[in-house]
């Protein structure tokens, strides 16, 4: 049986991938990426604060 991952890997040589990672041109962050990062962090921190408040005011029922 020829595994899918072996098939995938066989299409690339070691030097291909190493070279690709070494020489890949820098892609500047697009506005949509910046928005994704900023929205994720803002929403995440807000939700964590809300959850922490809920956690504080409604403690675990022991």
């Amino acid at each position: 049986m020829y595994d899918y991952q072996e098939l995938i890997m066989s299409q690339y040589t070691q030097s291909d991938l190493r070279e690709e990672l070494r020489t890949a041109p820098v892609e500047p962050l697009l506005p949509v990426e910046k928005k994704l990062i900023a929205w994720s962090l803002s929403l995440g921190l807000t939700l964590l604060v809300v959850l922490a408040a809920i956690n504080h005011f409604f403690p675990v029922a022991l």
Partner: protein, 495 residues
Amino acid sequence: MSNAYVTDFRVPSTTESTALLNEDWLAVILGLFIFVLGLAALVHVDLIGWVVSTSVWSNFSQALGPASKGYAALGGIGALLATYVALTVVLTASAAALKSDVKRFALAFTAVFWIAYASWIVGNYAQFAAVTPAEQQKFGISWSLKLTNEGAYIFALISGLIIANFLPRFAAAIKDAVRPELYIKVAIVILGGFFAVTAAGKLSLASSLILRGVAAIVEAYLIYWAVVYFIARKWFGFSREWAAPLASGISICGVSAAIATGGAIRSRPVVPVLVSSLVVVFAVVEVLILPFVAQTWLSHEPLVAGAWMGLAVKTDGAAVAAGGITESLILAKNAAEGVHYQPGWILGTAATIKVFIDIFIGIWAFVLGYIWTNHVNVTPDSNKAKLKEIWQRFPKFIIGFVVTFIVGLYLALGTPADVAKNVPAAIGEANTFRVIFFILTFFSIGVLSNFRALWREGFGKLAAVYVVSLFGFVVWVGLLISWIFFHGITPPLAS
């Protein structure tokens, strides 16, 4: 090119992709099958009491025995042989359903089972596993490493690591049965029932813990992902194609998330394959370190420790298994101080956190897919992200976990007392299989972690992002969040 280190997860093989079942559904079927067989004990039919169970031992004749006294006549070796035969038959049939090579699977599984279980038995030797002075006295020893019996998982992991790094040809020969994702998913399905029985004794605490699992989702998807993606793109200069699967692999759920993200953003298949290799290697490092750190500093905050394992250790197998080791180590340390907590709560917390995080993989992959195909690499309509991908990427084994949890809870709380009193024992027999699947998972993860091959391939830059993100951020933020939401909560005391 050596591919030994990239065989760490089951991207479906070319033949498997045409099979009727995928590994996820197969795990649900196997887990439910074992769970239902265990429940037969409720009507006084003991179908799986022959499964082998291992105790801490100093004399080998004490080591093995069947899980149920009804099968005592089998003896330890008989129970072990019965377990091997049953698992070989069932899993080989599963391999056939996946259209794998049945003969190769059966032979490979034979090697995997015996080496893994032998490692488990060795790890249960009293001088490794005995914890309390009373146990040491019982076994006639004056010292022990105090690793506990579940610390023996580490022995299975180390056996796998030795094979991967020093016997690569043997590792390649047994790879058909080296399936950590399948084994852990079966274990998690069974774990749902076990956790239900544990939770039934203290339902209000259990529901509070489950609600706190929401914080884990927020942390993994919205905080970890964004920070790791930024680090990979801005500090290490990775392209979007590499940075997105890398961020998902490090932040969310390791292998599954990297693969889902790779598919969603239409990256080349080689990208999630390599990221997943890294995930597994670093998960091994975490499993070898974090449970012992938790035992040292969090023994008085058991549920913080459990949540931390679920949040910090990547891949389902490593995270849930790390929860098991952590539970064993922390319960043992507390027992030595005279505090006897009920088992199941630390492991249950780790598993719940992990399952909560897994649930959203499909949704997150869809969000990324939508952004990528509409705004980053605008693609023709036929290749844009579609809503049905959410279901396609949903980890189906979670359905099994939920089913066994609900059934277990109903049986423990909703049935007459004479039935309910037998539920823990019935699910306990199924849980013995869960332990065996954990052992197979640990061994398999070890076999797939060829550090030398990874080093040889020269993907230091990928590994550097992983090290910086995991040990500089993910582990510590995970600890902080676990502390905020779980500190001061302790499991009920054992009656």
